[in-house]
Amino acid sequence: MKKTRLSLVIGALLLVIFLAVLFAFQVRSTEVAVVTTFGKYSASYTEPGLKFRLPWPIQNIYRFDNRLQNFERKFEQTTTRDAKNILVSLFVGWRISDPKIFLERFNGDSLKAEQQLEGLVRNAKNAVIGRYNFSDFISPDPKQVKFEQFEAEALKEIQGAAKDTYGLQVEVVGIKQLGLPEAITGKVFERMRSERERLVKQFTGEGEAKAIEIRSDADRRRDELLAKAEADALRIIGEAEAQASKDYAVFEQKPELAVFLLQIKALKESLKDRATVILDQRTTPFNLLTGDKPAAGTTK
């Protein structure tokens, strides 16, 4: 009896598994699924979980990756509003928004979807870039650069057609590459080289001019400093002279004595060192040698 019960349990378990395989399927969180009945669309599942179905061949299940797919457009030439040729490549992030349309249009093949998307992206890119000037893509003033605006417009342009026609939700559009056609790059190189040569001359001239300016300014400041110092010294000495002139007032009591004393001093100072003196017999005190009496005014 016990063995029979165990067998029943095992049998029931096997039956449940068998029925589950036949009548249920999973949709993972990264997937969407489409169910067809006798080849005809029946239902779409975009939420993950356990779903019920009728067994094959009555119903078929198609599962598609519902994560954001990355698609990159070729680096192609296009023309701006001001007739400048540029090369632009866009990258696009898309996911399946309507599994039914995706199945019907592309038979669930992502490569086919991207081939269709490529045409959409190309058209949108050319149309939107045609509304922008070249200066909207590169500018010394960051506010003039309209990268984000361009990307938003391109996204909007692609989104409508992709969703309605192909069941795709385009969520991201960005510039992947931006450049110039090969023929133009050569001309840009020539311009870059000539600009650099001009800069070399400019920097060389600037260096010399600035150095001369700094040196002459330094010389001027040196002269100013010295002139001011000389003036200060002169003023100080002038003040001293003024002070001295007060002391000189005492000489006015006896000017002849003052003059005499000053002369004596000058005489001593001028003949203080390495002097050659030629005297005659009348010079005091050598007049004593000739027997003359010392007298006033005989000194020469």
Binding site: V27, R28, S29, E31, G49, L50, R67, Q69, N70, F75, F91, I138, P140, V145, G174, K176, L178, G179, E182, T185, F189, R191, M192, R193, R196, V200, F203, G207, A211, D217, D219, R221, R222, L226, A229, E230, A233, R235, I236, I237, E239, A240, Q243, A244, D247, V250, Q253, K254, L257, L261, K265, K268, A275, T276, V277, Q281, T284, P285, F286, A296
Partner: protein
Amino acid sequence: MSDQPKKSGQLKLTATPVTGSDDASSQALNEALGSSFLLVRILAVLLIGAFVASCVFTVTPNEVAVVLRFGKPQGTGAEMLKRQGLHWAFPYPIDEIVRLRVGETKTVRAAQAWYAVSAEEEATGTLPMGNPTISPAVEGHTLTSDGNILHVRATMKYRIADPVTYAFRFSSSTNLLVNALNNAVYHASARHTAEAALYKDVSAFNDAVRRRMEQWIVKENLGITLDTLEVERSAPLYVKSAFDAVIAAEQDRSKKISEAQGYADETIRKAAGEAAAIRSGGMVASNLLVQAVSAEAKFFSDQLVSYNRAPELFRQRLLTAATAEVLTNATDKFFLPERGDAKSREIRIQLNREPLTPKAPGGQPTR
């Protein structure tokens, strides 16, 4: 009944009359079946053990795990993530364990705007030859705000901050990150001049790339944390020598200015010193003058009394003293007596250049 199999799973044999040879073969069959059922039982036990073991899984420190039950993540927010340790889940296909490596730092490189370089040149740091034009099929470039061409390459290191978003939202997060990083490079280039991007404002250029990348991370909820972003830039190889010449000229300009600045500093410092010396000299001369005059005035006052008493004597006394001092100090003294015939004497003086004395050490010749 003793010859009947007792254990479950064994085939039950009915008791029928058999011959001796039949009995032996039945016994052999019984033994064979008994062995088989034993094997089946062991297998069943092992399968049950494997089933139980499959319900348990471990998560290592550098990863997190998400349990999908019938394809749907279990839990919400942080509860969704099973971190390091032992965990339990139903076996597949009821539950599915998705492991995500979050601890390690990942790297992506955006080289869409870089020049063509071989792996060998890259490894040795050798620059390839520059071409007079850039072929878009071979190498990339960016456009700067002043219409110049540059090569820029960015390498980003990042960690996964939101594993569920990173793994479940994007079919290839890496590709999207590379594209976003390329976009950031072109975005920054379009706003900076070639000189700024190359050497004048490198940090601002790097910041612009980083800011744009961070905008992408937030805007598209990429589920990562940006660690480091290294931006390399190069002038086009064909005109690189012209850029190098500009750098050399700028350095030369700086050198000239720096030398002139040095001259200016030295000149002004020296002049300031000279000015101080001149002022100091003025002060010294001033003090000397005042003191000298004061002394002379005092000397005059002191001598005035004597002078008033006998002026001529005073004069002679001082004159004689002065003559003595002068003649004592004089190097050469000549005494010329008057001629007896009262005629004037003729004196001839030959003035020779005085011989130079030997040079003083480190100084000018002294006389």
